[in-house]
C-alpha cells in the first residue's frame, strides 16, 4: 500500500535518529478505504495557489445568516431481528421552510439509509462536493463495531454529514433529502425502490468507465490546479492520519508500562519506614498521570482522529467529483468529434452536442462554486480541530503538573514538620 514516507532531505532513520520514521505498518490498514500515498517530493514551488482565488460563477446565498433548517442526529438504539442486529439513530428536523408540511420532524434512520441518501445526492449533483459518510466497516484497529465509542463517533459523523447537507443551499433543497428527513420508515423503503433502476445505474457506470479510458482533452486550468491540490492534500491528510494513529499507539504502550511503574513504588514502600510517605506519594502521582493519559487517549480518538480521517475521505470525494466532471466533458468532446467528422444526422447531433455543452458548463460552475465553500469549511474544521488538540495537550500537561506540584508541597511540608519536631525534642 504505502511506501516509506520520506520527503527529500529527510534521511530514513530508526528510532535512534532525530525523528521516528513511519514505516510500513500493517496495523495502519485500519479502514476499508485504501489511501494510496506516494512520495510528496514532487510538490514544488511552481504549484499554483488554491483555486479559491478564481472567480465564482455561481454565487451561493450567504448560508450562515439565513438558516431555516436545522438537523440533529442522536439517540442511537440497537435493534435485534431474526436476521440481523443494527443501530438506528434519531433524526430531528426543525424548519421554517414553506415546502415542508410541518416545522418539526422526528424519524429513525439506519446507516444504510444515510448511504442511500448520499448516493442519490451524488447522482443528482455529480459535481457538487457531498460530505463523506463515516466508514461502513472497521476491520482492525482501535474500536469494535458495537462498542459505545464507535457508535458515538459514528453518530457525530452522521450528524456532521446531515448538517453539511442542510447548510448547503443547493443540496438542502434536494427532494430525496426532504424525504429522508420526513418520511416514515415504510415510506422511505418504498421510495428507495423507485430510484433509478439497476440497469440505468449500470449504464452510467459503463459510460463513466468508457469516458475515463478515453481521457479528457482540454481540462480547464482551474481544474488542473484543483486536481493537483487535491492530490497533494490527500497525501498530507493521509500522512497526518498515519502520524496521529502512530502517536496514539505509542501513547497506549507508554500507558501500559506506566501502569506497572506506580505499583512498584508501592511495593517498595512495604519494606521501608521513613520512606513510606514519599514512595506512596510518587506512586500516587504516577497513577494520576495514568488517568490523565487515558483521558488524553480517549479524547484523541474522539476528536482529532475522526477529523483527519474525515478529510482523507473528503479528498477521495473530491477526486471522484473531478473524475465525474472530466467524464461529463469527455462525453461532450466525444459527441462533438462525431458531429465534426460525420455528415449524417447533423441536426439531431447538434442538439445533443448543445445539451452536453450546457451540461459541461453547469457541472463546471457548480464545482467551482462548491470548491470555494468546501475550502472555507475545511479551513474552519482544521483550525478548530488543531486548536482543540493543542488545548487538550495543554490540559493534559497541566493536570500532570498539578499532580507533581502538590506532591512536592506535601513532601516539603512533611520535612519541615519533622525538622521542627526534631528541634523541639
Amino acid at each position: 500500500m504505502s511506501s516509506n514516507l520520506t520527503a527529500a532531505g529527510f534521511p530514513t532513520q530508526a528510532l535512534t535518529g532525530e525523528m521516528l520514521e513511519l514505516d510500513e505498518d500493517d496495523d495502519l490498514e485500519v479502514f476499508s478505504k485504501d489511501v494510496t500515498l506516494t512520495d510528496g517530493s514532487s510538490v514544488s514551488a511552481s504549484l499554483p495557489t488554491s483555486p479559491s482565488s478564481m472567480t465564482n460563477q455561481y454565487r451561493f446565498e450567504e448560508e450562515s445568516d439565513a438558516r431555516d433548517i436545522f438537523v440533529t442526529v442522536d439517540n442511537p438504539e440497537s435493534h435485534v431481528t431474526a436476521l440481523e442486529t443494527f443501530i438506528t439513530y434519531r433524526v430531528v428536523t426543525k424548519t421554517t421552510r414553506s415546502d415542508f408540511d410541518s416545522c418539526e420532524y422526528e424519524v429513525r434512520r439506519r446507516y444504510q439509509d444515510f448511504l442511500w441518501l448520499r448516493d442519490r445526492l451524488e447522482e443528482t449533483h455529480p459535481t457538487l462536493i457531498v460530505h463523506p459518510l463515516p466508514e461502513k466497516f472497521v476491520m482492525k484497529g482501535m474500536v469494535e463495531r458495537f462498542n459505545n465509542d464507535f457508535i458515538e463517533t459514528r453518530r457525530k459523523a452522521l450528524h456532521k454529514f446531515l448538517c453539511r447537507i442542510a447548510e448547503h443551499s443547493i443540496l438542502s433543497c434536494n427532494a430525496d433529502f426532504k424525504i429522508f428527513l420526513t418520511a416514515q420508515a415504510w415510506e422511505l423503503t418504498s421510495h428507495k425502490k423507485q430510484g433509478p433502476g439497476l440497469l440505468s445505474r449500470m449504464g452510467d457506470t459503463v459510460r463513466a468507465v468508457a469516458a475515463s479510458v478515453r481521457g479528457v482533452k482540454n481540462r480547464p486550468e482551474e481544474f488542473v490546479a484543483m486536481q493537483e491540490y487535491v492530490d497533494t492534500f490527500s497525501q498530507r491528510m493521509g500522512s497526518l492520519d498515519k502520524v496521529t494513529q502512530r502517536i496514539f499507539k505509542e501513547m497506549k504502550e507508554y500507558l501500559d508500562d506506566l501502569k506497572q511503574y506506580g505499583p512498584t513504588y508501592v511495593l517498595w514502600s512495604g519494606s521501608e519506614e521513613e520512606l513510606v510517605e514519599p514512595l506512596k506519594g510518587v506512586a500516587g502521582c504516577i497513577d494520576k498521570c495514568c488517568q490523565a493519559t487515558e483521558e488524553q487517549l480517549s479524547q484523541m480518538s474522539d476528536n482529532l482522529v475522526p477529523l483527519l480521517h474525515e478529510y482523507v475521505l473528503c479528498s477521495d470525494t473530491i477526486k471522484a467529483v473531478l473524475r465525474r466532471r472530466d467524464n461529463i466533458q469527455t462525453e461532450y468532446e466525444a459527441k462533438y468529434d462525431i458531429l465534426v467528422n460525420k455528415q449524417a444526422d447533423r441536426e439531431a447531433l447538434k442538439g445533443e452536442v448543445e445539451k452536453l455543452e450546457d451540461k459541461v458548463e453547469c457541472a463546471n460552475s457548480a464545482l467551482k462554486g462548491d470548491w470555494e465553500r468546501w475550502q472555507s469549511k475545511m479551513r474552519g474544521d482544521v483550525k478548530a480541530g488543531f486548536v482543540s488538540t493543542a488545548q487538550k495537550n495543554i490540559d493534559y500537561h497541566e493536570k500532570c503538573l498539578a499532580v507533581w506540584e502538590s506532591f512536592l508541597t506535601s513532601v516539603n511540608a512533611d520535612q519541615s514538620v519533622e525538622k521542627s519536631a526534631g528541634l523541639n525534642s
Partner: protein
C-alpha cells in the same frame, strides 16, 4: 594501618548513635573531608599493553585532591592529582570489604551499562557512559571519605595521594587471600541455629531492596523508551505541516510555525531523559548498596555459625571427658565400639586421653570466648554502621524522589509551553 581507625571511630559513632550531631556538624566534617577536597575531575582514553601483552584501550580518571585548612581561609593550596583506572578502584573496594567486614561499603558505579533504555548506549566507551561513570566514581570517593571509619584508612588515603607503589602497598596488606576466602564463605551454605533476629530482618530487607530497585529500574527504562517514542513521532507532524503549508495560502504560515513547535517538542525529550538518567543512577547506587548490606548480614551469619560450631565442639569434648571419667558410653563412638569388641584400655591410656581432652577443652573454652567476643563486637559495629546507613539512605532517596518530581514538573512545563505556542499558531490560521 588499616585497623587503626577501628575502635576509635567506633567510639566516635557510639558517642552519637543517632547521628543527632549530624544536623549540627555534618558527617563529613568529622572525617577526611574536613581536611581535603576530593574530586574526579576528568576522564581520558589510554592505550597500553595488558598482562598478556595485548594492546588494549581503557579509560583513566583524574583524581584531584586539595588540602583544606579551615584555620587559614585564604590559603589556596594547589591541587594534587593522579590518574587511576576502574580496576584500581575495584581493588581499593575489595580491600575495604575485607578489612572492614562490618561496614556497608559504598558501591562503585556499574562495570557495564545495565537497565539501558532503547536509545542509551550500552557501550563502555560511549562518552555519556564514561561521564556518568566519572560522576559515580567521584561519588564513591566522597562516600568513603565521609565515612567515620573508612575515611581514616591509610590505604584509602594513599589511593588518593600516592600514584606509584599503591598497588604493591595494597597487596602487601595480604588482603587478597582473605578476599578469596571471604567470597567462598559468602557463597557457602550453612545453617545457623540461633540467628540474631535483627540481622535476619536486615537480610530480608536487603533482599527486598535489591529486588524492588532492580524491578523499578527495569520498568523506568521501559517507560522512558515509550515516552521517547511518543515525543519523537510528533516530529513527523512538523514535517507534514511544513509540506502541507506549501499548498495552503491562508493557513500556510500558521501550519509552518506550528510545525516548528512540533519539531521542538520532539527534540525536547532528549534532554529530559538525559536528566532522568541521574535519577536512575541514584537508584542504582542503592541497588548495589543492597548487595553490600547483604554481605554484612552474611558475615554475621558466618561468625554466628563459627560461634555455634565452637560451642558445639566444646560441648562434645566435655561430654567425652565425662564418659571417660565415668566409664559409660552414652554416645555412640567408634572408640566405644572397638573398646567393647577388643577390650577396655589400660588406666595409663585412659589418663593420657584425659589429659589430651582437658587440653582440648581448655583451648575450646578460649576459642569460644574469642568467638563470642568477635561476634559481639561485630554485631555492635555492624549495627552502628547500619543505623548510619539507614539515616543516609532515607535522606538520599527522599532527595532523589524530590528531584524526580522536580524533573517531572519541568517536563510538564515545557510541554505546556510548546503546545501553548502551537495553539497560538493554529488560532492565527
Amino acid at each position: 594501618m588499616a585497623d587503626s581507625g577501628g575502635p576509635e571511630a567506633a567510639q566516635l559513632s557510639s558517642n552519637d548513635p543517632k547521628g543527632e550531631l549530624g544536623d549540627v556538624i555534618p558527617e563529613e566534617a568529622r572525617s577526611l573531608l574536613r581536611k581535603m577536597e576530593i574530586s574526579v575531575a576528568e576522564a581520558e582514553k589510554r592505550t597500553g599493553k595488558n598482562a598478556v601483552n595485548m594492546l588494549e584501550t581503557y579509560t583513566v580518571y583524574l583524581i584531584e585532591t586539595r588540602r583544606v585548612d579551615s584555620s587559614a581561609e585564604n590559603q589556596n593550596f594547589s591541587p594534587d592529582s593522579l590518574w587511576r583506572r576502574y580496576s584500581e578502584f575495584e581493588l581499593l573496594r575489595n580491600y575495604l570489604l575485607v578489612t572492614y567486614p562490618f561496614v556497608i561499603v559504598p558501591p562503585l558505579p556499574e562495570k557495564r551499562a545495565e537497565f539501558v533504555w532503547h536509545k542509551l548506549s550500552a557501550d563502555n566507551m560511549d562518552p555519556d557512559f564514561v561521564e556518568r561513570r566519572r560522576i559515580g566514581l567521584e561519588n564513591f570517593l566522597l562516600r568513603v571519605a565521609s565515612h567515620p571509619i573508612l575515611s581514616n584508612d591509610k590505604i584509602f588515603y594513599d589511593f588518593l595521594t600516592e600514584e606509584n607503589g599503591w598497588k604493591e602497598e595494597v597487596m602487601e596488606t595480604g588482603f587478597q587471600p582473605k578476599a578469596d576466602s571471604r567470597l567462598k564463605a559468602l557463597n557457602a551454605t550453612f545453617r545457623v541455629k540461633n540467628p540474631d533476629k535483627r540481622f535476619t530482618e536486615l537480610k530480608h530487607y536487603s533482599d527486598e531492596l535489591q529486588s524492588v530497585t532492580s524491578q523499578l529500574l527495569r520498568v523506568r527504562a521501559r517507560v522512558a523508551d515509550r515516552l521517547y517514542g511518543v515525543y519523537k513521532v510528533h516530529g513527523n507532524y512538523g514535517r507534514v505541516f511544513s509540506e502541507w503549508s506549501a499548498i495552503e495560502r491562508e493557513m500556510g504560515d500558521g501550519l509552518q510555525s506550528a510545525g516548528h513547535h512540533m519539531d521542538a517538542y520532539a527534540a525536547s525529550i532528549d534532554d529530559i531523559l538525559e536528566e532522568e538518567e541521574n535519577y536512575a543512577d541514584q537508584l542504582k547506587e542503592y541497588l548495589f548498596y543492597a548487595e553490600a548490606l547483604k554481605a554484612v548480614c552474611r558475615k554475621h551469619e558466618l561468625l554466628q555459625y563459627e560461634l555455634e560450631t565452637a560451642a558445639q565442639d566444646l560441648m562434645s569434648k566435655k561430654q567425652q571427658r565425662e564418659e571417660l571419667a565415668s566409664g559409660t558410653v552414652r554416645t555412640f563412638s567408634l572408640k566405644g565400639m572397638t573398646s567393647k569388641l577388643f577390650g577396655q584400655e589400660t588406666p595409663e591410656q585412659r589418663e593420657a586421653k584425659m589429659r589430651v581432652l582437658e587440653e582440648q577443652i581448655q583451648e575450646g573454652e578460649e576459642l569460644l570466648q574469642e568467638k563470642k567476643t568477635e561476634c559481639d563486637e561485630y554485631v555492635r559495629n555492624a549495627w552502628s554502621d547500619m543505623e548510619r546507613f539507614t539515616v543516609q539512605k532515607d535522606r538520599d532517596l527522599r532527595e532523589a524522589m524530590i528531584s524526580y518530581a522536580v524533573m517531572q514538573i519541568s517536563m510538564c512545563k515545557k510541554g505546556i509551553q510548546v503546545w501553548t505556542n502551537a495553539k497560538e499558531c493554529f488560532s492565527k490560521m
